[in-house]
Symmetry: D2
Subunit: 424 residues, 4 copies
Amino acid sequence: MQLDRSVIDGHNQQRIKEHQRKFEFVSADVANLDEVLQKLTAFNIAIPSWALGTGGTRFGRFSGGGEPRNLEEKIEDVGLLHALNRSSGAISLHIPWDIPKDYKATRELAAQYGIQFDAVNSNTFQDQPGQALSYKFGSLHHVDPKVRKQAVEHNIEVIRHGVELGSKALTVWLADGSSFPGQLNFRKAFQRTLESLQEIYQALHADWKMLIEYKAFEPSFYSTTIGDWGQSFTLANKLGPKAYTLVDLGHHLANANIEQIVSLLLMEGKLGGFHFNDSKYADDDLTAGSIKPYQLFLIFNELVEGMDARGMDHATGLGWMIDASHNLKDPLEDLMQSVEAIKIAYAQALIVDRDALNTAQEQNDVTQCQEILQQAFRTDVRPLVAQARMTAGGALDPVQLFREAGIRKTLIGSRGEKTVATGL
Amino acid sequence: MQLDRSVIDGHNQQRIKEHQRKFEFVSADVANLDEVLQKLTAFNIAIPSWALGTGGTRFGRFSGGGEPRNLEEKIEDVGLLHALNRSSGAISLHIPWDIPKDYKATRELAAQYGIQFDAVNSNTFQDQPGQALSYKFGSLHHVDPKVRKQAVEHNIEVIRHGVELGSKALTVWLADGSSFPGQLNFRKAFQRTLESLQEIYQALHADWKMLIEYKAFEPSFYSTTIGDWGQSFTLANKLGPKAYTLVDLGHHLANANIEQIVSLLLMEGKLGGFHFNDSKYADDDLTAGSIKPYQLFLIFNELVEGMDARGMDHATGLGWMIDASHNLKDPLEDLMQSVEAIKIAYAQALIVDRDALNTAQEQNDVTQCQEILQQAFRTDVRPLVAQARMTAGGALDPVQLFREAGIRKTLIGSRGEKTVATGL
Amino acid sequence: MQLDRSVIDGHNQQRIKEHQRKFEFVSADVANLDEVLQKLTAFNIAIPSWALGTGGTRFGRFSGGGEPRNLEEKIEDVGLLHALNRSSGAISLHIPWDIPKDYKATRELAAQYGIQFDAVNSNTFQDQPGQALSYKFGSLHHVDPKVRKQAVEHNIEVIRHGVELGSKALTVWLADGSSFPGQLNFRKAFQRTLESLQEIYQALHADWKMLIEYKAFEPSFYSTTIGDWGQSFTLANKLGPKAYTLVDLGHHLANANIEQIVSLLLMEGKLGGFHFNDSKYADDDLTAGSIKPYQLFLIFNELVEGMDARGMDHATGLGWMIDASHNLKDPLEDLMQSVEAIKIAYAQALIVDRDALNTAQEQNDVTQCQEILQQAFRTDVRPLVAQARMTAGGALDPVQLFREAGIRKTLIGSRGEKTVATGL
Amino acid sequence: MQLDRSVIDGHNQQRIKEHQRKFEFVSADVANLDEVLQKLTAFNIAIPSWALGTGGTRFGRFSGGGEPRNLEEKIEDVGLLHALNRSSGAISLHIPWDIPKDYKATRELAAQYGIQFDAVNSNTFQDQPGQALSYKFGSLHHVDPKVRKQAVEHNIEVIRHGVELGSKALTVWLADGSSFPGQLNFRKAFQRTLESLQEIYQALHADWKMLIEYKAFEPSFYSTTIGDWGQSFTLANKLGPKAYTLVDLGHHLANANIEQIVSLLLMEGKLGGFHFNDSKYADDDLTAGSIKPYQLFLIFNELVEGMDARGMDHATGLGWMIDASHNLKDPLEDLMQSVEAIKIAYAQALIVDRDALNTAQEQNDVTQCQEILQQAFRTDVRPLVAQARMTAGGALDPVQLFREAGIRKTLIGSRGEKTVATGL
């Protein structure tokens, strides 16, 4: 289904007066209003194809209905999101779950919805039916060169698909690691990983990036071969200028200061992209901003500061993507809540009084530094986000419109009650 | 397959001389040698039926071969373990994965292998095909009384199966919780859980126990309705004398002092049983003793001290069970390594010089307290464990005999390469 | 110094127009505005006497200037805070740091500032000069009955001081624990603690409460004898109706769900009070709301819900206190930031649409539950808090007035640059 | 006091027979016995001068008696340790706590006890009396260039002292960080730190190393400017070949895989040294091996493997040092327990069957990998450590001899009951 423009207009019409009151109130205090609105409008967060269905845990999965059954329906779902919030104009594919059968048709379908193809993702953490060699004991770090070769070739194939669709980046997340002391020679595993990545790097086009994720644990429960930012950063340095570190918010040990990591990677020119989600305990993959919204703001505070210091364009300088799992909520509602939380954090970061903050920092005026950040965070910036969205053609309240318009019901009608999207 | 006695004898014959040398050496320093050997011999750890196949994570599962395809083959596997280590003489069933078709035949099969039926486990964390109402939002804590009723009846049915097989306990582990702030009214959820448990409690026979697990997180990622020992203990107190707390080593927040919890629950007469496993990050369900063997010893140190203080029989006073997941190793090898680690920790705890420890504690002689515990832990007690095992008819080195005898190969031959056991 | 009323009026005059604009905007959407303002006005948070000076870590302390040199100056400081924010109308004394020399004069001084005496705190975690027996190895749990007796008597003496000043509660925080495995018999330590507390409990007046803190670790690094809410709750149950659990936000293992603990303690009628602070890693004792403001809101959400369910008065039903350490900021500024953050969280909790939340919870509408909580949290309630403060005679912006009025400078002038307040 | 050789001989005489029985038993199974004994004999762990007195927490300090009152007595204490265990032949000084008054006399005194001067440590985490500028807001990362200059000069002065005493390394641990979001510009702080370190690096002699510590938190509670191995490693890379990372076991986030970090730093040629201690919750600075002895073994397993792979000499390739705090135990007893635990872990690592481990790793035989490591860890290697110690002239049981000989009593006699050593 494609959302009729009139549905959005009708929704906005009903809310416009109340919205205007709020927007006028908050914008009165925003010195750089035009800049903020322009940047909010330009900001897009890619939707991963695997986040459009209900996720699960190792204990089970409770599917909802109307999940997309194929790549076309996934693009349709992202199109719906983008129509509603005007900030989800890209999809990130996961191979082999989303191998396009006809590149041209796929590109055209996406274009119809205003959707671009973000980073493509390889998958060497599962065995696929008919796969020659198993990834049970890893892929790019594997002791067996034949397994490494298979994994390298898979990544190169993923790049090929991406090239056809117009992607400009390959995201590599490896489950490679060990679950028991002694299982792995850490050093050799790291070096084999480097060599494998070098082979993949050779296949990267000149205008592509390789985004290297790190993760502290899960599914490996003793060590992960690319386990923290230091390891990813070391690999990115050895690989070359097209290699970058990708930060997933849920991939750290408890209490890690992620905003500091972000700042330092930007300083070194090696931050490549972001996977948004939230978590309380481990890699819980919850809705962005649902548990630690202040941390999300602090991260954006560093992103804005650091990108500006390097003269980077906010919208295109880094890869922005959601990577969450929707076990209990409707996936589309959950994604809209994530996008909203991310844009709120971004808006708050944009209104931080940077000159005042710099001055307070130079004076070690800790009280004042806190006042300045909290002033931005405590401001209700939702009307700014809504204004940017409405101006771009989106809905003032995407989640409520999704419900009012009975979109899930329509999807169930067309796709069925018992569909299960490919993915986790 | 049933392991021929002669195979074990042959294996032991080859190792007996070397074993004797070691046993004599270590036993020379053990004042209470007979008691230690007797207790080690009497000690049995139940094997959960779901641990006999390869486990997985939410990212995938890499099955091995020759996994048991039904309850009979699970009993066969536990029988093999027990023949090898003489400490796995019980199986813990999980309903509905292991519903016996013929109680009498099942009992007889188990008896053939010297296997008893330990606590039976209910499952309300997954939906089964054809199930009327979903557990997506919980079971015993559910807002809908019809779902609670379904879950209560399932538990009562599990008790019925257990009664037929000679079990004496019901283990209740609930995934009930919430993944987002606001989702749940904690208080009401707790009270509904209590009421549901009370209904199940009514169905318990006089000589049965109800073992109530707690878990900090996963699969719920914001709150778990029975989330820590204090919550389980409060429920057990309200339920009555047949209700107890069950401690699973992986179900705590990081750094929790589990040994102190064990000690206090024993003090209050409310420790009911144990699920052994090990972990580095979360509920990793690794082989017992593979990550923190000293913690395992410290827990046994409290168990021995606390059970002795109450005059409890070590072998029967509490329910002992492994609850691990074998993602990378052969499940049977993994279980043998777990049982060995548990018995080593138990043996170390048995040789602690308790009088000296009490004296040092009374004198706040912290150095000496540490010396006494480390003296026990650093002692190589493996010959004691092996001696008890051999005397009971088991193998001196179960893992190596499992390999020498080609047991997995035989199982694959009879069951096939591509079997997948029911379970997680 | 006592802040002249005209100073506050002048400050408010300058800001009143801008304030009014904001207050009108936000109050337009608050259905229960009068109730919210009335409750915010009634809400007071006690200031601990030891938080008025610069705190330190084990690595050192960097004192500021003008710290209070005695109890009178501490009362003066709290008086200043209260004059500015009208929400700090109580002081919590720590014996022996704050032994009054003349009860009547102390009471009168406090009354002059509108200050009441909140819970009194005992100190058995340090040795005082001339103390007969050492608390090196604990106090109420000590193996030596003479040490326990000394500690019991100290607590009873603290009660006596409190009675003279009009306090109604004794807060007991014990550092008792162990730093090495084996050092302590957990069970005996717990039972000795219970017996000691029973002796103190006997000395409690009928209208007094005993507030029992728990803490996971520090300064004991292996076990703490009252280590978690379950242990405190068990003691409170055994002691009787005057004994309650006190929750300090920094005293938990990482990732603990404190709001759930709060809810359950309220359910059981055993929540007695609160120590506010914030932390990222351990018991960091940072400014309330400076790290995890959403968690603070979620806790207040449970407090409001739970107190209302029991018909408790918000202002008097529980003991509210700050317990932070100000290592880098001016202590008074830091305290004002804490009080502001606490009142913001409280205001947000007061405007949660409870009927809608209940309905969404009953329907397992997780998306909507989150929308409802975030609607409250994202609202900029600062004008509500400011309005209540101004109406009660306080300043619209306490921190800025503190700076404009040069209060610290005045204090340094009268007290000196190199004063060091008693405390940690 | 200097321990009379005859005291040790007498002690050993009494135990020699029992020792021999045990040594013969265990050495029968050690293929590389001579190598193990030789390496254990050569292995020395430096004692930090500040660990010779009772440590404290922010809540207080409970001093023992007979603590060293000056540098001479600290050397005397290390001399006593070394006489007892023959593995403490070096002292690590902390400036300004241990500024030698007379280099020659100090060197001669140390030589008398067979003590060498290990890495010298600077201190910019405290303000010293009379210090011109404060380190309240950091030192090498400070916003004020004058503070940075003062800190740089202090470090250079520390090097000068070290040169006079024969040290070959400067250890830099910085408390620099922030306790509140916004306080610090992470990027600028990092770059200022780099520049300051570069200035210090210039002053390093050709045969010196700079060892750069990292620490996740404390005393800074929001960010630490050198917060993890990745940050230290990045600095070391930018500084040059004389700069290395130093790993302190207590300076990580919970659950960090330290052994992997060690392996990768060795791989990169940037591991410089080690600070041993143990911890359960944070930087608890407990006795090495008292909480997680298996982790200590796993770290040594990587150290041995990694140093051998680079052909490094175990005894001199890295800097080995204890960095613990002795709050409850006699400091000298505590240090002896630490050294013993470290040598046990080292001995266990030395007897790992590396060829078999390599083979098992190459075959992904996870069960066997675990068997091999556990075989080494479960072996009671204490007789090997004791043999090496005795051969070198030390005591078979240092802690017991320390007690039998009444050494502490003698020290109290000569130094007094109420001495407090400089340090934390």
